[in-house]
């Protein structure tokens, strides 16, 4: 994984931890964020919105269909940077 991809993943994990008020160190790249954060789809959309603003990108919801781990989420973001 390149440094940029790693940075993106780190930022995703930091933002998720901050938004849902969980310790950053409790989150791992392969975690299922629905289960790990205990969130539903509406909360996942709020995370998506926050990530779009942070990275200044558009990430259509349908590209998120089936994505449930931080690593894949970061990869989808990376393709838009």
């Amino acid at each position: 994984m390149s440094a940029t991809q790693q940075e993106t993943l780190d930022e995703v994990l930091n933002l998720a931890a901050a938004q849902f008020k969980v310790p950053r160190e409790s989150l791992a790249p392969d975690d299922d964020f629905f289960k790990k954060l205990g969130i539903d789809s509406l909360q996942a959309l709020s995370l998506l919105t926050r990530l779009e603003h942070h990275f200044n990108i558009e990430l259509p919801d349908y590209e998120m269909q089936g994505v449930s781990d931080f690593k894949t989420l970061a990869q989808r973001i990376q393709t838009r940077l």
Partner: protein, 267 residues
């Protein structure tokens, strides 16, 4: 009635500003209770309008402004009736909803929607009746109706076509994709984007500014700028009811209502 506190909405008037708050858990889904209380509001409007210059619509709930029509109630009711009765019931519901939306849209007062979080389907259609939409950065807008085999039924397409370019409307409708407040501002849907939790404060500040102007002049300007697309709104109800009879809609509603998918709101 200058003040009302219902199960789904509440309103009050202060310093010439009417504030209508949505407050039905889980995310202000519009069903029969919400509609009845919104009708009560529009019935009270002629009297309220005498001492006001603007209306602010906002949500009291953390999840967002409004997640749209109450699909669970729609599904339950349609299951309880014969198909012809269900279509008739849906048509009646849409007629009543359009009456509320059109009354707000054409109100001589200036209307401001202060939105955050989820602004989906019928919730986006409710925001669209307002003259000014102020969104905080958490807002997410979406027309997910096509995944249920339907089109928006609360006046969404005619109002979007009135306010935005047709190409943008096609993109939003035909992909069902969500978009954030910044995008909404870029396409001309939202006029002001503000920080998280700031939409209502900015809406109040905007209403204060609106209150400085002569009411009749503001009403005349609004009437000139924002005609109601009556024919298209009528056509929308017809198309919605035609589509509603198709098996794909029943299947789509059933899938949504019975879904154990963690992502039912991700179109």
């Amino acid at each position: 009635m200058n003040e009302f506190h219902g199960q789904a909405v509440s309103w009050s008037i202060k310093d010439g500003v009417i504030e209508l708050a949505l407050r039905r858990e889980p995310c202000n889904e519009i069903g029969s209770q919400s509609l009845a209380e919104l009708e009560r509001f529009t019935d009270a409007l002629p009297e309220l309008e005498q001492s006001a210059s603007s209306i602010i619509l906002y949500s009291d709930l953390r999840c967002g402004f409004c997640a749209g029509a109450d699909l669970r109630e729609l599904h339950r009711r349609s299951q309880e009736m014969a198909k012809t009765d269900a279509v008739s019931g849906v048509r009646q519901f849409l007629e009543r909803t359009h009456h509320v939306m059109n009354t707000l849209d054409a109100s001589p007062l200036t209307t401001v929607a202060a939105v955050h979080g989820i602004v989906f389907g019928g919730g986006l259609e409710l925001a669209l009746v307002c003259d000014i939409i102020i969104a905080d950065k958490t807002a997410r807008f979406c027309f997910p109706e096509l995944r249920l085999g339907l089109i928006p039924g609360f006046g969404g397409i005619p109002r979007l076509r009135r306010d935005l370019g047709n190409a943008v409307v096609r993109d939003l409708l035909l992909t069902g994709r969500g978009f954030n407040a910044t995008k909404a501002q870029q396409i001309g849907l939202v006029s002001q984007v503000v920080g998280e939790g700031e939409a209502l404060r900015v809406a109040r500040s905007t209403a204060e500014q609106i209150g400085k102007f002569d009411r009749q002049t503001s009403a005349a300007a609004k009437k000139f700028l924002k005609p109601l697309p009556h024919d298209q709104l009528r056509r929308e109800i017809d198309i919605f009811c035609d589509l509603f009879t198709r098996p794909a809609v029943e299947a789509g509603l059933k899938k949504f209502v019975e879904s154990t998918d963690t992502q039912p709101y991700l179109p």
